[in-house]
């Protein structure tokens, strides 16, 4: 058993967890983050990628709306590289409830969400696919955010301040002594080694797994696990976030994301924190609802589906509510007050848009407990350092403007080494993933990171495999790199299989049209051209 000690253990490598890690590190508090999978494998990557303006909550949940608009403004400054400032529209359809419209405008006004009415003619010109049933259009500062990039930027920034993290390390139990949590026991899932971490405070930021973590020591936290399913279309159907202006419900948000569009969501309470299975009924239901904003949606190509679990906090007054009715606010639970045990705090609820604020509040609490008086700086200090203009220019010359910009955002100050590698050996500038324009040199670089243990981890770092081919071409093109990094052919084949299996889970619920054809092509490539062996079917 390996033993380490630190001041704070943060459980959970989602947005909240990495936000806390960064915040504590910036305040000079030694902290270690433990994550059972890869960073962002849970809710933080399984959402629509919308940076809320607060508009969605303006009527029912003014506190959440207020937090959203404030954080929206902050994140657009400190995390500009993770955000595409698309703006968003709230579209009021003919026949929708005019009373709600009035309440919404009042709500936005009260919490300070800037609203501009877009003339219909301009609206249809800018978004040609928008339904002609639109009666009024209002623009708000919604934007889109890349959850993976945001998380990686946070941990990389935290590392610079001395913060540490370990992925694929699953907390097995809390270490209790004399009514105090003094650390955790965890298992390194890669080596199988047990880890004992001594700490003064343990922060439970495990999102949908929070209840499981608390329950390890018999504590109860009320997390409502609310599953939302989403669809990914193969292109940008809209250039702005498109919301429906009505009581928030299912299937009323389209979010353009890089080269695709994400559309959702649904809401069902589930039992398991990793119930990511998408039901075919949900898909037909979503498509039906999507018709309201995008007529002819059934002719568009769906690449895949996915689902995430919203870890909603169910306060006493929310007890009778279903998922949509529960507040999007967050709550910090001091287990000393609740359960009489010191050294443990849980953070529940909230939204990705408010991750920084949640991290700030938790870190304030932790700092106060530890007697540290440094103030929070995460609202001012950008996640990304100023880029070297020289490196940027050189990258653009070597691999082109669009590819260079994407790479610089992903790699930040580490881009220099990758650019040098391409300059020395220009063929390393070939793309492994054409959708995300990921070069061979970048893949080689990413594979040197000890946190990248699989092709699927590589996907989350680079977005490789997330485009139209769903890994069919880019996993093949990553062959020489994974062969070298992971050692040999058998492992390479295993990585193909794991990545394609992971992608397949999201494709099977939407297996029709051009994506079905693409899947036949992928099968032909792997089973015939590359001659991999077929698997016995389960049935």
């Amino acid at each position: 058993m390996r033993e380490i000690s630190t001041q704070v253990v943060v459980i959970g490598g989602g947005a909240t967890g990495v936000g806390i890690l960064r915040d504590l590190s910036m305040r000079g508090i030694p902290a270690l983050l433990l994550e059972q999978g890869d960073l962002a494998h849970g809710t933080s990557s399984r959402f629509h990628g919308l940076l809320h303006s607060g508009g969605r909550y303006a009527v029912k949940d003014d506190k959440a709306a207020q937090e959203c608009i404030e954080e929206n403004i902050i994140l657009k400054t400190i995390a500009a590289h993770c955000i595409e400032d698309t703006y968003g529209w709230f579209v009021f359809l003919k026949g929708d409830d005019p009373n709600y419209l009035e309440l919404w405008l009042q709500g936005c006004d009260q919490v300070g969400i800037p609203v501009r009415e877009v003339p219909l003619e301009e609206g249809f010109r800018l978004e040609p696919l928008l339904t002609r049933k639109a009666a009024r259009i209002f623009e708000v500062p919604d934007a889109t955010v890349d959850g993976f990039k945001l998380l990686w930027s946070n941990v990389k920034s935290a590392e610079k301040y001395g913060g540490t993290y370990q992925t694929y390390c699953k907390v097995q139990s809390l270490w209790l002594e004399n009514g105090r949590v003094i650390g955790v026991y965890a298992e390194d899932l890669i080596t199988g080694e047990t880890l004992r971490v001594r700490s003064e405070i343990v922060v439970n930021a495990a999102g949908p797994w929070s209840a499981e973590i608390a329950a390890m020591s018999g504590f109860n936290v009320d997390v409502l696990k609310d599953k939302g399913s989403l669809l990914v279309f193969n292109q940008r159907l809209f250039n702005r976030v498109i919301n429906r202006l009505r009581v928030p419900g299912d299937g009323d948000i389209f979010v353009p994301h890089q080269t695709v569009t994400v559309f959702g969501t649904t809401s069902h309470t589930v039992e398991l924190p990793d119930d990511h299975q998408v039901d075919e009924q949900d898909i037909t239901y979503l498509i039906e609802l999507g018709q309201n904003l995008l007529e002819g949606i059934e002719r568009q190509r769906i690449v895949r589906s996915f689902a995430g679990i919203r870890p909603l906090y169910e306060s006493v007054e929310d007890q009778d509510q279903e998922g949509r009715g529960v507040s999007r606010n967050f709550v910090i639970i001091d287990h000393q007050k609740m359960d009489g045990v010191q050294g443990l705090v849980s953070i529940l609820g909230g939204k990705l848009t408010t991750y920084r604020l949640m991290a700030e509040k938790v870190s304030d609490w932790v700092a106060a407990k530890l007697g540290v008086h440094t103030a929070c700086r995460t609202a001012e200090e950008p996640l990304l350092n100023e880029q070297s203009a020289e490196v940027w220019d050189k990258a653009r010359q070597l691999i082109g403007v669009a590819a260079a910009d994407k790479m610089m955002e992903r790699l930040n100050e580490q881009a220099g080494a990758v650019v040098e590698a391409i300059a020395r050996q220009p063929l390393l500038g070939q793309f492994v993933c054409e959708c995300e324009m990921v070069t061979q040199a970048e893949v080689i670089h990413a594979l040197q990171d000890p946190a990248v243990n699989s092709l699927d981890d590589l996907r989350r770092q680079t977005r490789l495999g997330m485009g139209t081919c769903q890994g069919a071409y880019c996993s093949y093109r990553a062959t020489p790199m994974i062969h070298e990094a992971f050692g040999g052919w058998e492992r390479t084949v295993k990585e193909y299989r794991l990545l394609l299996a992971e992608r397949w889970r999201g494709i099977t619920p939407v297996l029709w049209g051009e994506q079905l054809r693409e899947s036949e092509l992928a099968r032909a490539l792997f089973l015939n051209v590359l001659d991999l062996k077929a698997e016995e079917s389960e049935g």
């Binding site: 052919w489 299989r497 297996l511 054809r517 036949e520 079917s537 389960e538």
Partner: protein
């Protein structure tokens, strides 16, 4: 009026067209695109024919062994570089692993593993989607008794391009290998290899040069006229990745074979519907003409027989709409067998959706699955349009397509 109108220019369509033309029939082949031949590895798989014939309704149950053998011989007849063997042969995949195949070009067939020798992999500079380190490691693993080494090479014409970091597709390289300059460069490289490894008086080692994207077959009819120069060492072709040089030249070759036999060709035309004789009760109908959209014009093409070779899901002959609410065959609107379970949780498993297609009688005429009756009297369905098979897990893609195309041509 044609004796046969073949709809679809993939493997099954071409085989049907060429065989029918060879039999002296007046044949028209209508195709929208180039089919899926551009994914062709260069190898025909027949699979475990006897085993597959035990599967109820598998296309192989429609053919006797004689027909299957005739189809194989027909491939060899039109393309003599393909060798028929009692047992399957082996070739290198593009990753240097060994794959079996039932019918492959002479130049692809691997030497005996029991022998000793040396492979020298020629690595053309900047070849896209080709990974020499992996290939070498795999070749060494597959042939433990053999030495494996690599020799990098460049072609002057591409030197500046590659220096910029631009890759070269295998299609481009294969075109270079067919040019005079390419042949000269290859001959020179191979001569150097020979000098390097056959020095002094040490016992002669068997040396085999391995070269990706070399396509030596499909010569006479492809009109791309490669030199037929023999090299000073045996040269082994690797099977193709996509886009496939083998597929490209094979498609070209088949096209010329067909037109040289008097076949008529219409490319870029999409068959969309048909006209029929006024239907009578309880009798299979006869199709009189298909309607084809081409360059904004609609044409009616009359034929005695129609061969449907539109390539199933991958080829585009079967369209599956959103949420699978609509599934249809695009030309004749034929009834389809649609499996109830659609997919398996493992990606590499045999997928139920692959079984989708047209059920036929033993003459490959479409059946109505509900009533079991022939729908069209003069329509024959071939290749991937047939139901109840999976070419990728059953490894019989070439076998079913060649045989069904050949047999359909015999029915014209």
């Amino acid at each position: 009026m044609w004796d046969a109108v073949v709809v679809g220019g993939g493997l099954a369509g071409w085989i049907a067209g060429i065989r029918a033309a060879q039999r002296g029939k007046k044949v028209l082949l209508v195709t929208e695109g180039v089919g899926t031949l551009f994914y062709f590895s260069g190898i025909f798989d027949y699979g475990d024919i006897e085993g597959l014939r035990h599967l109820p309704k598998h296309p192989y149950t429609l053919f006797n062994s004689e027909a299957i053998a005739q189809g194989q011989h027909f491939v060899q007849e039109i393309c003599p570089e393909y060798i028929i063997n009692e047992t399957p042969q082996s070739a290198f995949t593009v990753l240097g692993t060994v794959r079996q195949g039932d019918l492959m070009p002479r130049n692809m067939i691997l030497p005996d593993r029991q022998e000793q020798g040396r492979f020298v992999l020629l690595v053309p500079e900047g070849l896209k989607d080709f990974f020499p380190e992996v290939v070498i490691a795999n070749m060494a693993r597959e042939f433990p008794g053999w030495q494996v080494s690599a020799k990098r090479m460049r072609v002057d014409a591409l030197a500046e391009w590659v220096k910029l970091g631009k890759s070269v597709s295998s299609i481009d390289y294969s075109a270079i290998w067919r040019s005079e300059e390419g042949q000269r460069v290859l001959a020179h490289e191979i001569e150097e290899i020979k000098r390097q490894y056959q020095v002094g008086n040490k016992p002669q080692e068997k040396i085999v040069v391995v070269l990706p994207s070399l396509v030596k077959e499909y010569v006479d009819f492809s009109r791309t006229k490669p030199c037929i120069e023999e090299f000073s060492l045996p040269v082994l072709e690797m099977s193709s990745f996509v886009p496939s040089p083998h597929g490209r030249y094979f498609a070209e070759y088949l096209k010329h074979r067909f037109t040289d036999l008097g076949g008529e060709l219409m490319i870029g035309a999409r068959a969309v519907s048909l006209n029929q004789e006024s239907p009578s009760e309880n009798k299979a109908r006869t199709c009189q003409e298909v309607i084809v959209n081409s360059k904004g014009k609609s044409l009616c093409l009359k034929g005695k027989k129609f061969i449907l070779a539109t390539g199933g899901l991958l080829g585009g002959g079967i369209k599956v709409g959103m949420a699978r609410k609509s599934i249809h065959e695009g030309v004749f609107d034929l009834p389809l067998f649609v499996p109830k379970e659609w997919s398996e949780p493992q990606f590499f498993a045999s997928q139920p959706f692959a079984q989708i297609g047209v059920e036929t009688d033993e003459l490959m005429r479409p059946l109505d699955p509900a009533r079991g009756e022939v729908v069209w009297d003069n329509v024959h369905v071939v290749g991937r349009m047939l139901a109840h098979w999976d070419p990728w897990t059953q490894r019989c893609g070439g076998g079913v397509s060649v045989t069904s195309g050949y047999v359909a041509a015999e029915l014209v």
